[in-house]
Symmetry: C2
DNA sequence: ATGGGTGCAAAGGATTTGCAACATT
DNA sequence: AATGTTGCAAATCCTTTGCACCCAT
């Protein structure tokens, strides 16, 4: 599903389209920057002046419930959203909080725990450490 | 480090001990239940009536900064803490929010991304799905 | 006496809720 | 008309902050 289109993506995940939902999905698909609710809201306000933050909250939650976007809770200070729902991991800098995508090689995380206690539906992998620019600041 | 003792654990991680810190660490070591700040606070209030929630916040943050406890941000609704800092994963039920420990077999996650952009210090793995009791409720 | 630790009260922020207005079918 | 969506305002909840007090060294 390269070149994803916002409307088709909504339909694909069984989400009833609206002007707001299309705009928000379009934003996610064009900005793989892990935006927060506020960042999406501020960006789209220019185009949709009546947009409310409540709608952005509702919509992003709806997307993540339908699997149309991923909610990232790696940083305890801010929840981010990712329109890239293909399997990949993330890296967060513990100093500046920057979030980067990490491609996982085939088979890197294909272990799935088996248990009578639960049925796994999603696997999440992330890394924490220091990013290049923070490391350079410290070294200097 | 089986049979971990609260005071020794604090010393081991370079944390200056106090009555409150020992009590909180002791709680974490005896309750691998992924408690929230509030759960720790309420439990310890019985023994230390003057304890303030601010101190629990400060202390758990201190612990996680020193690597003496792990902060779990899997559930966007509540931050939990884990006194078990040995490598293991977690499972969260998307329906009831229950958090379970998952033992990872040797080598399950030993892939470490190499990048010029960052230096990885920690790997985190968690799973989401449906727990047994929620599945049974639905099936019924 | 000094520095760090604690705890209260208040402030600050993020998210959710209730409800009325609106759009779409 | 009916259903679902939106957006405002208010409420709520979680977490942090500022500051004074206290304890241990």
């Amino acid at each position: 599903m390269s070149e994803r289109n916002a409307l088709d993506t909504l339909k694909h995940y069984g989400i009833h389209p609206s002007v707001q939902r299309i705009a928000i999905m379009d934003y996610l698909l064009k900005h793989y920057t892990h935006p927060t609710v506020d960042e999406v809201y501020v960006s789209l306000c220019k185009d949709i002046p009546t947009l409310s933050k409540t709608t952005v909250y509702n919509t992003l939650r709806l997307f993540s419930e339908h699997g149309a976007a991923q909610m990232l809770t790696i940083d305890e200070k801010k929840i981010c959203f990712d329109g890239n729902v293909t399997p990949h991991a993330h890296f967060m800098c513990r100093r500046c909080g920057k979030l980067l995508d990490v491609d996982l090689p085939e088979g890197a995380v294909d272990y799935l725990p088996e248990s009578k206690e639960f049925r796994v539906e999603e696997t999440h992998v992330y890394y924490k450490g220091i990013c290049k620019s923070c490391a350079e600041k410290t070294d200097a």
